[in-house]
């Protein structure tokens, strides 16, 4: 995935990896290290929490925890790669795009996900996907990362 | 007038120290016989009083009837009816009406309104000073001549020591007490509740116990100086009780009253800013409630008096600081007293009747308070064990400002008889 990102972006210039809270952040960090190892360039990392931009904020409750957002002051002229663990309906990415609009105007935005499980509800596509998975009704995909969950795993589970 | 025979009840007459099963016969507005197996003529009304207490009608020395001036809150008539429903055959009406009851015409007005209502007796209390402004004595002679039984500037204290002294001296001429609302205004100013931990937590300005005790001490000293009779209204603190106790020990002519809320509720009742717990003097601490109860027990506090103070719903539906002081109490007094004084073992039933009837008549020199033959037929028949839930919407009073809504009280008046006529009968409600 790291290699593919660099290819798609024609190098690392102006590149910014933004991980979506949670788990997207850890994946972005790992990708960043891999790119640094291969290209010898440290790629800047950002974190994005999209809770406040969710389109279902009024309907859900109790209020979900809002995580940390840290981005450089301006996104103008950057090539931003959104990194997330699972791409499903596409609404998280839509929220992220809205939030970016409040930070500036990137030259280009790409989406990189570990798992694309289909089931899109919005016209959003992953530019780089680690794996595409067929998921049946009543099932979901859970991603675990060592930094948060003590292990690296992707599991197909039944909805409780 | 139709004779009334009250049959089979427990007759408690503190004036003669009697307490036992007996029948009571009322004829021509007077008590004509008390004893076992009394027989009435044909056509007499029979009241079956088995399981109930028959006692001299209750007397409340301190009520506010709001007429003239605030007839939307209460009138002499509705107040007299509320009194009867509460078992009272007589009440004394405070003069802080609008205009103030400070002249003979005003006193006469209340007397005639009471007669027209034909329920509980209403004895007017005249003002100490004109307009209750604390500047010039009212004409006590005229007031008494028109029917006043005492003088008071209640609502406010008698303004200065000098004024209180002259009032006590002048009142001696007519043999009436000066009833004082004991409150040092400079300490109490702006206060909304008792000064203590609860007022600290609620962020409300408090009225310290000292505000009452300073004036209690002043009045007792002046009563000693003048030989006059001072009656201390609505006592609320343990310090006040102690001062009165020592004053009485020294033979000073001081009498005192306490309200049912001051021996049943504490300042915690103000939590949540409940304006039905706001009155003056305020609800105090548990130790004060205990002292009031013990004061009633040993006679330091002479009588229970309700300080019935009607207020409009809108007036009380306000920020706590802005709500007016006062709660009604005529229709709950007996129920609270039996629940919190008799059931708790503080007073026996005869002692309670003495504090709510016999002694009240004695200290204010009123007829009643006795079931002796020849005495006026002012009688109450009450059930001392009946548990009932207070529903303010069912009150005879025009107002509803009570903290006892929904509470279960013990003891309820069933028939109230004034001048030999039944003015309240629970069974016909």
């Amino acid at each position: 995935m790291a290699v593919e990102i660099v290819e798609r972006c024609h190098g690392t210039e102006g590149l910014l990896l933004v991980g979506i809270q949670r788990r997207g952040v850890e994946l972005a960090e790992r990708i960043g290290k891999l790119i640094e190892g291969a290209e010898g360039v440290a790629v800047p990392l950002g974190k994005l929490d999209i809770t406040l931009y969710r389109d279902d904020l009024q309907a859900i409750g109790p209020r979900p925890v809002v995580g940390e957002t840290s981005l450089p002051a301006s996104l103008d002229d950057r090539t931003v790669v959104i990194v997330d663990d699972v791409l499903h309906t596409g609404r998280t990415v839509r929220a992220a795009l809205d939030e970016f609009a409040d930070f500036g105007r990137p030259r280009r935005i790409l989406l990189c996900v570990l798992i694309d499980r289909g089931g899109r509800e919005l016209p959003i596509q992953a530019d780089v996907a680690g794996q595409t998975v067929r998921v049946g009704p009543g099932e979901r995909v859970d991603v675990f990362v060592t930094e948060l969950d003590g292990r690296d795993a992707v599991e197909l589970a039944r909805d409780s | 007038m139709t004779p009334i025979l009250i049959r089979g009840g427990r007759v408690i007459d503190p004036s003669r120290g009697t307490d036992g099963p007996a029948d009571v016969l009322l004829e021509d507005g007077r008590i004509s016989a008390v004893g076992r197996g009394v027989v009435a003529d044909e056509g007499a009304t029979i009241i079956e009083a088995a399981g109930k207490v028959v006692a001299p009608g209750l007397i409340d020395l301190h009520v506010h009837l709001r007429e003239p001036g605030q007839e939307d809150l209460e009138t002499v008539s509705t107040g007299a009816m509320a009194a009867a429903a509460g078992g009272f055959t007589a009440v004394c009406a405070m003069p802080n009406t609008d205009p103030v009851t400070d002249n003979q015409a005003a006193v006469g007005f209340i007397v005639s309104q009471a007669q027209r209502a034909g329920k509980a007796r209403v004895y007017p209390i005249g003002a100490v000073t004109l307009g209750q402004r604390g500047e010039q004595l009212a004409e006590f002679g005229e007031l008494v001549g028109a029917g006043a039984v005492a003088v008071s500037d209640d609502g406010k204290p008698v303004a200065t020591s000098h004024m209180m002294r002259t009032a006590l001296e002048y009142a001696r001429t007519f043999g009436i007490p000066v009833a004082d609302h004991c409150e040092d205004m400079s300490l109490a100013q702006g206060g909304a509740m008792h000064e203590g931990l609860v007022s600290t937590r609620l962020g409300l300005k408090g009225i310290p116990a000292a505000a009452e005790e300073i004036m209690v001490a002043r009045d007792i000293i002046l009563a000693e100086l003048t030989g006059g009779h001072v009656h201390l209204c609505h006592m609320s603190t343990r310090g006040s009780v102690e001062l009165i106790r020592r004053g009485k020990e020294r033979g000073i002519r001081v009498t005192a009253e306490a309200t049912p809320h001051h021996f049943s509720l504490t300042h915690e009742r103000c939590e949540h800013y409940d304006t039905n717990a706001k009155m003056n003097p305020p609800l105090r601490e548990a130790a004060d409630v205990e002292a009031i109860r013990r004061g009633l027990k040993d006679g330091t506090i002479d009588v229970v008096a309700s300080d019935h103070a009607p207020h409009h719903y809108d007036a009380k539906e306000r920020e706590f600081d802005l709500a007016p002081n006062g709660i009604i109490g005529l229709e709950t007094a007996l129920g609270v007293a039996i629940r919190d004084l008799v059931e708790t073992g503080v007073l026996s039933l005869p002692e309670l009747v003495e504090r709510m009837s016999t002694r009240a008549a004695r200290i204010f020199n009123l007829p009643g308070g006795t079931l002796a033959v020849g005495a006026p037929a002012d009688v109450v028949v009450f059930d001392p064990t009946e548990r009932w839930v207070v529903r303010p919407d069912a009150f005879y009073s025009k107002s509803r400002n009570t903290p006892y809504g929904g509470a279960t009280l013990v003891g309820r008046a069933h028939q109230t008889i004034v001048r030999g006529r039944v003015v309240f009968d629970l069974s016909t409600v």
Binding site: G61, V66, T69 | -
Partner: protein, 325 residues
């Protein structure tokens, strides 16, 4: 994004005071304020979280800083705000608080931020209207958002709150800021002292779990931080203290007194300051003053409170506590 099940213990419908909140709920508000600090640093200081919500700032007492702080918080959450000040309004013509409330509710507003001169006014309003009610200061009772921003500022500065010693100095008797601070500091394990002339200390204040420090020198020797309250001119006029000058000489937080302290004290003040009365300028503007960070945190804390309450009801709070209806 994997759905994260971490939910937040709800606050219920209203924020009336800190006396009735648990330590956990207070921590939630502080933690929620963190991401909102970041929003205020962005070029575009706006998130759509409360988009479409109407909020009325109902200020019966004049206040510039608190009202503006709330207004920024509301606008940065994309809410629509209306300010009602009572001069010249129907309230000054005698409309009661109840009617004001019901009229606002009839216009379908979502939240009311109320500041009022009577203790209990916020609860009075909250009990009578469906909208969320936030207490911006009711009489002498509580000013919860002020205390929350105070404690957030302390947390920023010290990290760990438990065992910290904070002395609140000044007119405690008349201070809603003091009361709210006492509640939230003690709940989070901070040792609280109060310092002021005895005529300005409330009855039985020790029963709230605070230590009374008789002189300002005692407070300075004891505390890690001082929260210096504004002394109002009216107190002198009402006879609680002889004069503002004497107050400054005996109780003022001055540089000389602080220099004799065993450590560097952090200085807080809710504002507005009476320079030269309760606090000297060189202290207020000095290196240990966190008065300006307090103001910055104020917007973040208020955003957090609005965010957490919006859409909250009593039922939601009960469900969060695990109670059933």
């Amino acid at each position: 994004m994997t759905a994260d099940a971490t939910a937040v213990p709800a606050l219920g419908k209203d924020l009336i005071g800190l006396e009735t909140l648990s330590a956990a709920q207070i921590r939630v508000i502080l933690d929620t304020a963190e991401p909102f600090k970041e929003v205020s640093e962005r070029a575009i200081k706006k998130v759509p979280a409360l988009r479409g919500k109407t909020i009325v700032n109902l200020f019966f007492e004049a206040s510039t800083r608190t009202r503006i702080s709330f207004e920024f918080a509301e606008k940065r959450l994309s809410a629509d705000t209306v300010n009602v000040a009572t001069q010249g309004s129907s309230v000054s013509k005698g409309e009661t608080l109840v009617d004001t409330a019901r009229n606002l509710e009839a216009m379908r507003i979502d939240m009311v931020v109320i500041r009022h001169g009577a203790s209990g006014a916020a609860k009075f309003l909250g009990d009578r209207i469906e909208s969320n009610v936030i207490n911006a200061g009711d009489g002498k009772h509580e000013h919860p958002t002020q205390a929350l921003l105070d404690i957030l500022t302390l947390r920023d500065r010290f990290g760990e709150l438990a065992g910290l010693k904070v002395a609140i100095c000044g007119d405690i008797l008349h201070s809603r800021v003091a009361r709210s601070n006492i509640w939230c500091l003690t709940k989070l394990g901070v040792e609280v002292g109060v310092c002021g002339p005895p005529s300005l200390l409330p009855r039985e204040v020790e029963a709230l779990g605070v230590t009374v420090l008789p002189r300002i020198e005692d407070a300075i020797a004891w505390a890690d931080a001082l929260n210096v309250l504004r002394l109002q001119l009216e107190r002198m006029q009402a006879g609680f203290i002889p004069s503002l000058r004497e107050y400054n000489r005996v109780f003022g937080v001055t540089r000389e007194r602080l220099e004799r302290a065993p450590k560097d004290l952090v200085i807080l003040h809710p504002g507005p300051m009476n320079r030269g009365v309760e606090i000297d300028s060189d202290v207020a503007d000095g290196p240990f003053s966190v008065i300006l960070p307090q103001v910055t945190n104020g917007v973040a804390v208020r955003m957090a409170v609005l965010y957490l309450l919006a859409g909250g009801t009593g039922a939601v709070a009960a469900a969060a506590r695990g109670e059933t209806s």
